[in-house]
Each structure stands twice: as structure tokens, then as C-alpha cells.
Amino acid sequence: MVGRWISALRARLRALVGPGRSDRELNDELSFHVAMEIQANVASGMSPAEAERRARLELGGMQQLKENLRDQRTVPWLDYLVQDLRYAIRTILHTKVASAAVIVTFAFGIGANTAIFSLVNSVLLSPLPYDSPERIMTVEPLWTNTGQTNTVSSAPDFRDWRDQNHVFEYMAFHAGREVRVVANGTPIFAAVQLVTPDFFSVFGVRSFRGRLWTEAEETSPLAVVSHAWASSQFGEAASAIGQRIEVVGRSAEIVGVASPGFTYPASTDMWLSSALIPINQNRGGHNYFVVGKLKPGVGVDEARADMRVIAARLEQEYPANRFKSVAVTPMLDKLTNRAQTTLWLLFGTVIGVMLIACVNVANLQMARAAARGREMAVRSAIGAGPGRLGRQVLTENLVLGLAGCLVGLMFGWFTLKVFLAMAPADIPRLDEVHIDGRVLLFTLAVTTLCSVLFGVGPARRATQADMSSGLRHQTARGTVRGIAPRVRSTLVVAEVALSLVLLVASGLLLRSFMRLSQVDLGFTTERVLVTTTSYPAGGTEATAFYRDLIAQLRTIPGVRRAAGVMTMPFDTLRANSGYTVDGSPTAYGKGEPPIAELQIVTPGYFDTVNTPIRAGRDFDDGDISGRPQVAIINARLAREAFGDSNPLGRIIRTGMTPESKQGMQIIGVVADARQRSPEIPSRPEIFMPYLQQPGPGSRLTLLTQTSLDPVLLAGSVRETARRLNSGVPIRFSTMDEVLTKALSYPRFRTVLVASFAVLAAILALVGIYSVLSYLVAEQTSEIGVRLALGAVRRDIFSRVITESMRVVVIGLAVGLAISLIAVQAIDTVLFDISSRDPVTIAAVIGLLAVTALAASGIPALRAASVDPLVALRDE
């Protein structure tokens, strides 16, 4: 059987690829026949001329025979395809407006889909650009009492995990921030990461030049720099090897340059050995991000089980590990965790937009098909089979779809650029976002599917109308009346329902964002200049620098207040630790270890950010080393640990530093402030004075409250700092910018979902308008008759409006039902508003109803202004 197909295929292919050769063979075959016949005829006694005449006659018309044979050998569908294409393009050009409407509608849907799918594809779906990325895991403490993971781990825990597990090939930790680095004699900020030697093995990174350090060298001050940083600092990556740089006041040697493109985490400039930054050896001090590479063939569940056994053992062994288990998460999930909700939400929205676009296309195609009913009937009457007509409709729709796809891709590319410009910088892997083969394939698949489903289906329905009625009708349309109005009404219902769902979602996001923007943060962001510096040395030398600098900043004209803080609001990396209060062993009763966020501030911090002090006093210049240790707590901690009793004067202890372990007297209570995020209510928090905590107090961010635009003061602040020490790098920002950045995720999704919902609503309104216009145009003669028989124009108008609003109301009801169920999916990203918020839903329904009314008004007016004479003459 297969052999038969092969030889048949060969014969056809020969005809297709070499028509010249196959023609010649045909010639040869036939002329051989003629020659043989002549010879036979001559042998039987004919004259040569007669013999040839008879031979040719016998064969029939030579030329016609050749034509027949040739036809048999070519591939007819290819001919038909060319013909269909030519015909499709001619039809499309002939009906420019309708075709443009289809193309533009498709382009909107496809463009939106392409842009969002590019984001989803690059951020969520593509594997991480490392060696065996599926084996790379993050390992974090998991508090069994709260179910929360902790992101950062303690160094002793890490060591036990690494040494006792059976599932990881490599395990490493990293921790870092932007610090002062002196390269080529210039102090600059660089993103550094303290890493353990196996860090590079986890990611399968090799050195591009030089080498990576080994476990034995961990105690030497060594650095590996990123390819990009090496190139920008030393011109050529290779010349970085052997250079000495100054990092956090210590000298380090660059031994290697990492392979180009590797900058994990985020955009790190250099990785340092632990000799450069002392490691916190406290089991309760969580500072380090642990990453690991599973052994080949080990599953995530197996790894979890193995690690939990170790954690359970540690829990028995150390009091600090109480309730501390361990979580193992694939790194891709961890990295994209926050972006996932937003991106899937956007993806759902654009699919809604695409569906509405498709419904519109279906509508337009039905109208076109109806208008061409007569043409189809004629073609069918002169012999085009239903298959042939169907194929032509298919070709036409595919051509339209592909044109829409092309325009849509351009639109999508442009939209993607806009998205990337406004996307939150902390969406991971944004630099990897691009339109790749998978995106193109996705777009093409969507286009083809939609063209076939929503273009051919309706058009086929229209062409199936029987040809005799199509021919008999005088007007071009009319053949599809009877089926089409109901189908089209259904389409309008679908459009209204879908756009209601999208508008409800975007309305909720909008209201949620407005509430989020107005939430009482507990501190001010207005007119506060943020100055980031990095002092070359640590300890008391650094705190002295900050003390002097703050004092001098206060003398700058325009500065109202100045202070310093260790962890900026909304910084994701925040110190926390368990705490105890002397005399209240069971502050929490349930045996949970109370956890507090830890913060180091200078005197005057609360005034500078306008956080009111509820009781007691602020820190002052007397709270220095050697004096009694003091602390300020926030209202939440006061409430949770002390209830109604007075916390002032009580002693509180935390495990952050040796000083804080010895116990600190509570001297004040401040109002709660949303430190983590505007969305998250404040947690219990302990503030400590920087001069009593020289370790963590040696790296502060300075805040300056000004009476002018804070940016105007940047110059004088820089000068003041330089006068004190010319070796500190300085960078500026404002508290408003910090807040803007913190709100970038909700803003991004709100703006995008709202834009798409508005686009969807516009498409839906255009759909309602075009369906009604078409129905009115179709009924022109009927309306003419009614008017001629004495109908009142106002009745005609209200009849059209009623008809359309009936459909719209059904759509709204269906949409409402879907909204109540589907929109719950966004509950997790809503702030302070329910996904069933009646005000929002009512407002959206009202808005949609009014605009739908307006959209039906124009066709209704047109119906009411029909001239009965003209209408009847048309018929």
C-alpha cells in the first residue's frame, strides 16, 4: 500500500517540479507511438503519407490529448488555491470598509494578546537561563505556627542543612546590597553579594576569565565580578583580573569574571567571599538567601521530605529553631511568585478582549455574507460546489485574519514597548521579554482558530441559504433573514456580558488602587529627600560620620528635619527576630514565639517622617553606648505584648545584636506605620537607637524633611557630605518615589486591566452599533411600509431601542452572573474592597447600559427617519 502511494506521489511530484521535463516525456511517448503506428501501417501496404495520416487520426487530436494528460498530472488544489487567493484579495479590496473593520478588530485583539503573552511567556513560562534550571531551588525557613516562609535563613541553619541533606548536589547562600566600592580610585555604588563558594556551582556558572574561588580560599578577600561591570569599569572584561578594589572599607582582589549575562540575583555587579563581610553566626538571625541545586533525578517532594527531617532535628536541638521547619521551592516559582497573579490577570483580560473582537468579526462576516448572498447563489447556480464555495470563504477569512495578525503584531510590539516602559522594575526577567517563536506561534494559532471559528462559521451559515431564494430576491440581501437576527442577538449578549465582566474587574481594581493610594501609611512621604550613602568603615566610625552629617544637614536652609534609618519603608529585605519581655514569659499565651521587625533609627526620625509618638519620648543624643540600652516599640507590639498595661520602663530583648540581647528599656511607643508595603498592616516593631547598635547602625539612609521641593536640596546635601568625607558615594531619591515604586504593581495591573476593559467595551459598543445598524438597514422597507400605513416615527424609534435594550439587558444579566463568580479570582489583589462590591458593580452596569443606549440611538434615529417613498422604491 505504502509503495503504491510512494510511486503515485513520485509521478505527481515529477509533474509538479518539472513541468518542462514531463511535457517532453509526454511528447516522446506519443511520438514514439506515432512512429510505431506509421511503421506498422507502411508494413501493411499504405503509402507513407497515408500511414502517417491514419496514425495521427487514430490518436485523436494530438494537442488536445496532451492537454488532457497534463491536466491529469498537475495538482488541482494548488490551482484552486491561487484562484481562491486572487478572488479573496479582490473581494477584500472591493469591500474596503468592511474588510478594514475586520482587520482592525482582529488587530486589537491580537495585538493585546501578543503583548501580554510575550510577558507571560518570557517571565513565567520560559525556563531560567541557567544550567539545568529545573533543579535550582530556594530553601527557606517555614514557620509552622503561622505557615509563613521567611525568605532569609540563618547561617548555622544553612550549614546544618547543607551538611546533613541527601538531596542537594550543591547548596549555597547569598546576601547583599548596594555598597561603596572603590575601583580605579573612584568611590561608587555597586551591587555586591556575599556568597559561599558553591554559589556558582548551583547555577552552573563558569568563569569567563580568571577563576572562581574554592572552599579553601573562603577566608581570603576575593571577588568575582560580572562581565558587564568588568567591561564598564576596566574597558575590557579580561583586564579586571588581578585588580584590587576596595569594598566596604577592605581591599579585595578580583580573581574572576563571571560568564556574560550572569548577574543573579537581580543585577549584581560582584560576588564576594565571606572574608569581606562578617557572617552573622546567630541561629536566630535570619540574613541569608539559601539556594540549592538538586541532585539529578531528585524530585521536589523528595527534597522537601529530606529537608524537613533535618529541620525537625534542629527544632529539637535548639530553642531558637522552635516552630522552624523548612520550605523548598523551585526558583522559577519563587522568582515569579509576585508577578504571577498580575500577569495571569492580564492574560485573562486580553483573552476577554480577543473574544469580544472575535464576536465582532463574526458579526461583520455575517453581515458581509448576507450582503453577498446573491453573489453566492449565482456562483452556486453556475456550478460552484458547496465545497468550493466553502473553501473560498475559508481562504477569504484566513487572508483577513492574517492581515489582522500582521497589523496586530505591529500593534502588539508597540504595546509591549509601552508595557515594558511602565512595568514595575521588580517584575523579574523583564530584560528577557521579547517576541519569540513561541509568541509568534501562539499568535498565529489564535488567529487561525479565530478566523475559522468566527469568520467561516457565520459565513457558511449564510451561504447555505438555498440558491433559488437568493436568485429570486431583487435586493442583494435577504437570504439569511430568519436565522441571522437571533444569532446576532446572541453575539451581542455575549459581547455585553464579557465587557461587563472586564469592566467590573477593572472598576474594582481602580477603586482598590484609589483606596490603596489614600491609605494612612503612618508616615509622610511628602517633601522628604532620601540620601543613600555608604561609609567606607563600619562601627562607631560610621555612626560618628552619620551623627556629624545629620547635625550639619539640619543647618542647611530649607531643611526642616533630618534623621537616619537602617531599613527604608517598603524595602523587601527587613530584619526581624523573636523577642521576649522580662516578666511576661507567656506574652502570647499560645506558645508562639513573638516576632518583631527590627529597626535602627537616629533621634528625630519619627518627627522627620511625621510618625506621632503616642507615649514616652523619642531617642536623644544621650542614648549612646555605655548608657542604659533603650528601645521604642510600635502600638501593635504594645497592644500584643502588654495589652492594657503600661509598656514604658519594661525590659525587652531580641536576638539581633549582642547589645539587644542584654535587654533594652522601653522608653516610648509610636503609632503604627505600614513599613513593609502599603497593602500590609504594620507588624510589631522594635526601634533601637543607632549609637547603641554600632553594628547595624553603621549603614543608614538619611531622610531630610524640607520646606521646598526636596530635589532642590540635593546639591547642598551632597556638598555637606563631601566636606565631611570626600570618599563616600551619594545617591538621591525622594520618599514619594519610594512610594510610587511600592505601588508600581497595583498601578501596572490597574492601568492595564482598565485600558483593556475600555478597549473591550468600545469593541462591544461598536458591535452593538453595527448589529443594530444592519438590522435597521435590513428592515428599511418594512419600516417604509409601516410609515406609509401611518406608523408614528417615535414608535419606530422606541421599537428599535427596545429591541436593542432587551438584548443588552440579557447581556448585562449574564455578565453580572459571570462577574459574581469569575471576578472572585482577583480577590487576592484587591485592597480593602470586596470582589462583589455592589457600588462598583452597579456603576459599571449603569455605565454600560447608558453607552449601549447611546450606541443604539444612532441606528434608531436612522430607522425613524426612513423616507417611506425611497424605502419602497428600493424594494
Binding site: 510511486s7 503515485a8 511517448e29 487514430e58 487530436g61
Partner: protein
């Protein structure tokens, strides 16, 4: 020259397959052999011979090969493929069933 009555649909294919099955031949030889065996009764016009041959070739029942024939000229020789052989058997059997059925009907005596 008047055309002989058209052969029954599909019968020409069967005849051609059979003749080619006997030995690979070129078109003229097939035509001659057909005339020779069946006499004038089943004369096939050369004008319908070649389309039929090409159709069989495209269907994969026979394949063609260029070889030097009589007169020292290149001629296209047709050979049966294995699939063509099965087809021939199937068609032959079919023909025999149909023709014997027809014969039985024709033998019925008029009353």
C-alpha cells in the same frame, strides 16, 4: 472512423492491468496486444489509451520506465507494481462475479 462502443466504466483499467501483468510493454505495444487478443470487438482508441495509462500510473498501480525500444528510440515501458497486482486480482474476481451474475440473469427463459 467511428469509435467502437465505450467500454464499461473501469473495464479498460482491468484490461490494461492484465496486459501489463503479462509483460512490461510500452503504450503502442499495449494497444497492439489489446487489438490482437480481443479482435475488433474491444478496440480501444489510442486517444483514450494514454489517459488511462497515466491515470493508472498516478494511482500507483503501474510504474513507468524509459528504455530503448524498437526503431532504436526511447520508449516508455509500463510495469505492474505489487499494489497493481493485488488490484488486478481483486478486479478480476469482481469482474467474474458480476459477469456470471449477468449471465445468469440473461439465461432466464421468457415465459
Amino acid at each position: 472512423m467511428s469509435k467502437p462502443p465505450d467500454l464499461m466504466q473501469g473495464t479498460l483499467d482491468l484490461l490494461l492491468l492484465k496486459i501489463i501483468a503479462l509483460a512490461p510493454r510500452h503504450g503502442w505495444a499495449i494497444s497492439q496486444r489489446l487489438k490482437q487478443v480481443s479482435g475488433e470487438e474491444l478496440q480501444v482508441s489510442d486517444g483514450s489509451l494514454y489517459p488511462a495509462l497515466h491515470k493508472l500510473e498516478l494511482a500507483g498501480w503501474i510504474t513507468a520506465e524509459w528504455k530503448v525500444g524498437e526503431l532504436g528510440r526511447r520508449a516508455k515501458f509500463y510495469t505492474l507494481t505489487p499494489a497493481g497486482r493485488r488490484r488486478l486480482e481483486h478486479e478480476t474476481e469482481h469482474w467474474q462475479r458480476v459477469s456470471s451474475a449477468i449471465t445468469r440473469v440473461l439465461r432466464l427463459k421468457e415465459v
